[in-house]
């Protein structure tokens, strides 16, 4: 695992795609790992009472996957300094979350990566993650 140097990154670079199979283990495990016991994230009956067919991923898990996606590309010593997230439709077990990203800005040692996550409902998440890279 090596960390990208700032000088090696250009605006427009596409990150390798990542498809995540959404399982009940991921939805429930992610919610509990983030200490989010809101019933709609682990109890199908509670999710159905809100009009959705199944438990759905909590925002912390979505953010966690987005963060992992960017640092998997940037490398372990990249430092995430901020993230802006727009939330879309739900992500539920049985669906595939297709995560894509590209570099939209590179300035003064910091890189902005725009990340989208889509599933069969359409857009689940759109995010801009800012990482500081060595070698500016």
């Amino acid at each position: 695992m090596t960390t990208r140097s700032f000088s090696s990154v250009d605006t427009g670079e596409a990150l390798p795609p990542l498809d995540i199979e959404t399982t009940a283990a991921l939805v429930v495990g992610g919610a509990l790992a983030s200490r989010d016991y809101t019933p709609v994230h682990h109890d199908r009956a509670a999710a159905q009472a809100q009009g959705l067919p199944d438990v759905f991923m909590n925002i912390l898990t979505t953010n966690g996957l987005v963060g992992r996606y960017v640092t998997d590309w940037a490398g372990p010593d990249a430092v995430v300094t901020g993230v802006k997230v727009k939330l879309g439709g739900p992500n539920m077990p049985g669906d595939t979350l297709k995560i894509r990203g590209k570099v939209v800005a590179a300035d003064d040692g910091r890189v902005d990566v725009e990340v989208t996550g889509e599933n069969s409902w359409g857009n689940h998440v759109t995010a801009t993650v800012t990482v500081a890279l060595p070698g500016a």
């Binding site: 989010d36 682990h42 199908r44 199944d54 995430v80 901020g82 879309g88 049985g94």
Partner: protein, 328 residues
């Protein structure tokens, strides 16, 4: 719907929450620790040695194990008690939500969030969150229903009072306008129900027009008094005041009066971008619709269009327009 008076009362009550902390600062029950980090990394598929491997992390710029930055809020989540829900409000944010819920704004939907990290968290850090209700919008109409956007801002500090970062979070508290149907589930593996287009309101004065679409026709209402054509359907002629009417079928031939391209927000049930169009039909009325079968970059005001009835997967039918060759 609320009466104007009740609404004024509600808005006075909710806007009084702006600027209030949701409660006293909350310190997470556990300091930053390896088991919780490992559990997070397992779920997220994180493999970075800086989170998981003490020996490797020592050589990193952090000098030891750190927590994944996106975990920041997890250190101050309430945890187990959340499963009981908050029918009995426990803080000012719950009280604000309950006021709205009791007034019919029952839905809640996270819309966006922003976080900034001042430094990565190290083992033993104790995280405290101080959360304030920062902003409440005026009432807005959205795809999910009418409601208010509520923004909270949490500031995170460590055991020395130094800032670790902040987070804003915006939710829509709304009156649901279209409960989604839960998919039936016979084998225990529910399939997400495919979202569909938001249906227009249909009543006595316009449902005949939508029924005609289902029958494959684009209709135009015609005055029974003066024969003037009008669209969209309405009970009275604006020219002569007659309430008598019948309808004629449109050829669907028209030209583009104006348009806009909608890229965002992307509601489920639609294909984006949407080319929303106002079309002048050759019969002389103007119709709100959309254009398909054409790259939005190639759309031009004045272009010839042909209207056709499009049927959604759920059977809902509506006119859409395609580019028309002049020779047609």
């Amino acid at each position: 719907m609320l009466s104007a008076e009740k609404k004024k009362e509600l808005e006075e009550a909710i806007y009084a929450f702006v600027g209030k902390p949701i409660g006293p600062p909350f310190t997470g029950r556990d300091v930053v620790n390896e088991p919780m980090i490992r559990q997070w990394c397992d779920a997220m598929g994180e493999t970075s040695p800086n989170y998981l491997d003490a020996v490797a992390a020592e050589k990193s710029p952090h000098g030891g194990i750190v927590a994944p930055p996106m975990m920041l809020q997890a250190w101050v989540m309430q945890g187990w008690e959340m499963h009981e829900g908050y029918d009995e409000p426990k803080n000012e944010e719950h009280r604000l939500h309950k006021l709205l819920t009791d007034a019919g704004y029952e839905g809640v939907l996270g819309t966006d969030t922003e976080q900034s990290f001042s430094r990565y968290l190290r083992l033993g850090d104790a995280v405290t969150a101080d959360t304030v209700i920062e902003h409440i919008s005026e009432e807005k109409a959205t795809g999910a229903g009418v409601g208010y956007f509520i923004t909270t801002r949490a500031t995170f500090t460590d055991q020395n009072g130094a800032e670790l970062g902040w987070m804003t979070f915006r939710v829509l508290k709304f009156i649901p306008n279209q409960p989604q149907q839960a998919a039936s589930d016979d084998d225990g593996a529910a399939q997400p129900a495919k979202p569909a287009r938001i249906k227009p309101p249909m009543g006595h004065d316009n449902s005949w027009w939508w029924q005609a679409c289902t029958d494959g026709k684009i209709q135009i209402q015609r005055c029974g008094g003066c024969e003037k054509l009008r669209h969209p359907p309405r009970p009275m002629c604006g020219a002569c005041g007659s309430m008598e009417w019948d309808a004629v079928e449109s050829s669907g031939r028209g030209t583009l009066h104006t348009y806009t391209v909608i890229h965002y927000p992307q509601f489920p049930g639609y294909e984006f971008p949407i080319i929303a169009a106002l079309v002048d039909l050759e019969e002389g009325v103007r119709m709100m619709s959309s254009i398909s079968g054409c790259d939005y970059e190639k759309v031009e005001i004045g272009m010839p269009l042909q209207g056709v009835i499009h049927e959604d997967e759920d059977g809902f039918a509506l006119p859409i327009f395609r580019p028309r060759e002049d020779s047609q």
